[in-house]
Symmetry: C2
Subunit: 523 residues, 2 copies
């Protein structure tokens, strides 16, 4: 990919033609699948026997009982003390009865209702939901051709993709950090962009009181809700990471407690990199991750019984040669599946991710991301963070990668449709087989004609032309095809409708909070 | 990839450095996993309930009983008549009792012993074996940069890759058709190349009596075997496709009967493309595929009870817009899984494939191939044809794709190692977690030191460097990295040892058979 300029130029003719045709048809750039969050119909892949589940559970419980978790949050320490846990300095030890009693309070399923109620998502059970990449500080696309700091335009474009693709069900954190906006007011500008450019379920970073409170207020305003309505059911969520090993930081816990007290949802995702912040053995890394997650969930359930909580996994391994994190590895897949078994053991909804270590949207990026996405499917994951757009271990967001990932996500959506594996008599199709007999073909028969428009998955990015036809329109590789689509989608993007009065109220809130100085940046 | 020249030049420094380092070390180009064919420890993914299995079985049996299969082979028609089946013209109808009785004779497991007995493979049970791409007429690599007809050099290079990679367990058909060799003698030259460049299990095309007999003779010579020894256990195999719908051709059946009579293994793989040669509904396409396969397997079991037979699947769907075949689709994955359930129902080992429709080794190639390889894993497939090197629906072989696929195959090998998911006390690692506590890291502790060299999968092609380090050595995308490895592997390739007397005997056989005119080309 040394010469992206040449490659872009070669593809221009085709992409222009396609965009033109779409404009003539007056429809969208691509024909995509409808909004229809998949239901995972497969039995999960379960590498652990019952004894293995028991061993990891016992390991996690002994970590909580004997080693304890550090909570660098006074509020949390006070609450744990009040609940009868042992608190030594900032280390909290809790017995397994307490933990299990608290965790049992968490619902197995809950909904998040964004400003557009048609985009309500149900988390838990067999639901499988995908969100955009979150939080990379950097951006890469084929046109720029190198890694650059994220800015607000890039962030807005990735938010447009988040909204555009029906296979993206919720908005994660910032799809790229807009580092051109001062950190004190960044959350205000990005949330304004998120709430006006998308109508999907919203996320707040737990990075200090002001940010969390501002985001909750903006989500409330965008939904046209009273405080009471906002708090009556989850409207948004936060995601926190523990500071492995065995530690929760002040702002993360603070943010969660604020959301919990207002009835909003919490995802707790330890980042236990085996061999670095967790044991080099995957079961140990999973046990530690479980302990870290459950300690926080227990706290939130103590404070607000029944508050929706999701157990997240981010257990992967390092490259033992360099110490660099690896993603989508065989060990990553197995730890995700093991965590899935544990999540079901605790009756908690689960989060995992779509991840890779690759630096550009090439073959490696796809096999690592495919591995992680299929591990999510196999583990019974309910929400998949970073499902589209992630590169370089989360340090880069890329629109080409976003679009390539959406192709895979749509395939997973189709894969989960029960009609694919129907064995009803008209699916066995004995009459059609008899009709065609030993000589003909099935193209023209009625059984085919009745079904052909919906019989098979239709990709929007995979190119199924033969080599010669593919070459005749430029011989364009996948990442470059994705780049052309990116340009077209952005050019034709229409924001979801929003009441002008609400938009004004949101804008006024942003202006006022900026005048007040936004949030402190010394978190 | 418009400018492969530039891109190759940019990468040269790095690859040269790597090759130099390898040469200095005096070891292989890459550190790869050892020869250790995976055992599939996962429960298969089973989309069908028991009633679904029964419905497809009943559909297949009714096809055999009511519609029948055409056998364009007089020998087969005579044998079916002798067995009491109804033969009308070339259409054979057989009742389910006969079919099930014959199929029950096939072993659930068997071995193939190639000239190097250390490369013996066991087919069936939970064994998972990978073979090279077979039969593309065309070739593509980054240096050539376009699709060209295959030749003997290309074929030899791909055979070297087949031998080099420990994750390739058997040699399929020609990894590319060397169309520069006349068809009458092509099998002689390629088998000479295959038998001298590799020591893995061999395949014969069932394309006429002379070819099949010549290949059996050459495999016998290469193994230093008497006729009796050759016939005492499978030394090789053939793979046939039916001519869907519902037909078996003369040379395919002829070849299988020849192998069956000499105790060699047979893979029967209908090519039922849903919407073209099979019903547009996947269960119908699977039922038809099962019927086509079982009809041939029943014949072979009638002729030679207990002869090793494998049921193959090649059920995919067409692109309903163009009629072109699609591969690695959601429908492909589900049909492979469904066929896996049927194979277990019949007690037969199973074959599936690693396939894609992509024209170059790009992102699409990887997601389609990953989908098909993981579907093979999930289906309980025993042998995976085309597991490395396939492009453009099997019309192109590519060394870069071969090497990229081997990276994925190695990951599957690692994924299946039980130690990854061990929950033994030292894997839960409570002492290590206690030792590190709330502040440290796990890099330096004894628990990590004792395990770090083997704790995690080490890729040979994935690049886990961060962006800056990756960029500083040329910013090379996956396909180009694979190209560099290809050059190095070929440059340093050493053929497996062969007794000079055997080599001479093989060469003399080729000379003699060429003098005799080889095989007719009007098959």
């Amino acid at each position: 990919m040394a010469d992206t300029t040449t490659r872009r130029r070669r593809g221009a003719g085709r992409s222009g033609g396609r965009a033109g045709a779409a404009a003539r048809r007056g429809d969208a750039v691509i024909e995509q699948m409808p909004w229809d969050p998949p239901v995972n119909i497969d039995r999960p892949t379960e590498p652990l026997e019952a004894e293995g589940v028991a061993a990891i559970h016992d390991g996690a419980m002994r970590i909580l009982e004997e080693i304890g978790i550090a909570f660098l949050n006074e509020d949390a320490l006070r609450l744990f003390r009040e609940a009868g846990c042992k608190v030594d300095g900032d280390v909290v030890r809790m017995d397994r009865d307490f933990v299990m009693e608290m965790v049992a309070r968490a619902p197995a399923k809950f909904t998040i209702t964004p400003r557009n109620p048609d985009r309500t998502i149900e988390i838990g059970g067999r639901n499988l939901l995908f969100g955009n990449v979150s939080s990379p500080p950097n951006y890469w696309d084929l046109e720029i051709g190198r890694k650059v700091s994220g800015n607000r335009d890039m962030c807005r474009n990735l938010l447009k993709l988040t909204q555009y693709f029906n296979c993206i069900h919720f908005a994660g954190g910032y799809p790229v950090e807009p580092v051109d906006i001062h950190a004190s007011v960044r959350h205000l500008d990005v949330l304004y962009d998120k709430l006006t450019l998308t109508d999907k379920a919203m996320h707040a970073y737990s990075l200090g009181k002001e940010r969390v409170e501002d985001v909750m207020e903006m989500v409330r305003i965008a939904g046209g809700l009273s405080d009471e309505e906002f708090e009556s059911t989850p409207r948004m969520y936060t995601n926190i990471n523990s500071t492995s090993p065995l530690k929760h930081d002040q702002p993360m816990i603070d943010g969660c407690l604020r959301l919990a007290r207002r009835g909003q949802a919490i995802v707790v995702t330890p980042f236990t990199l085996a061999g670095a912040m967790a044991p080099v053995t995957m079961a140990g890394a999973v046990a530690q991750s479980i302990a870290e997650a459950l300690s926080a969930i227990a706290l939130f359930q103590y404070v607000r019984p029944g508050i929706p909580c999701v157990i997240g996994t981010f257990t992967s391994n390092v490259d033992m040669k360099s110490g660099a994190p690896a993603f989508g590895t065989p060990e990553y897949m197995r730890s995700t599946q093991m965590t899935g078994q544990m999540a079901r053991f605790y009756g908690l909804p689960m989060r995992s991710s779509g991840v890779c270590a690759a630096n550009v949207p090439d073959g490696q990026a796809v096999w690592e991301t495919s591995n992680s996405l299929w591990a999510a499917v196999q583990s019974g994951t309910n929400i998949v963070y970073h499902a589209a757009g992630w590169l370089e271990g989360g340090l880069i967001a890329s629109p080409e990668k976003f679009i390539m990932d959406c192709e895979i996500l749509q395939q997973i959506q189709r894969y989960m449709q029960p009609e694919v594996t129907s064995t009803a008599p008209d699916a066995i199709a004995l009459d059609a087989i008899a009709e065609v007999g030993h000589q003909g073909h099935f193209f023209g028969i009625q059984h085919t004609q009745d079904r052909y428009t919906s019989a098979f998955y239709q990709p929007f990015l995979s190119d199924w032309k033969n080599y010669e036809a593919w070459e005749s329109v430029g011989g364009i590789w996948t990442a470059e095809r994705a780049h052309h689509l990116f340009k077209q989608i952005i050019a034709s993007f229409e924001a979801p409708p929003m009441d002008p009065a609400i938009r004004e109220e949101l804008a006024a809130f942003v202006v006022r909070r900026k005048e007040e100085g936004g949030a402190p940046t010394d978190f």
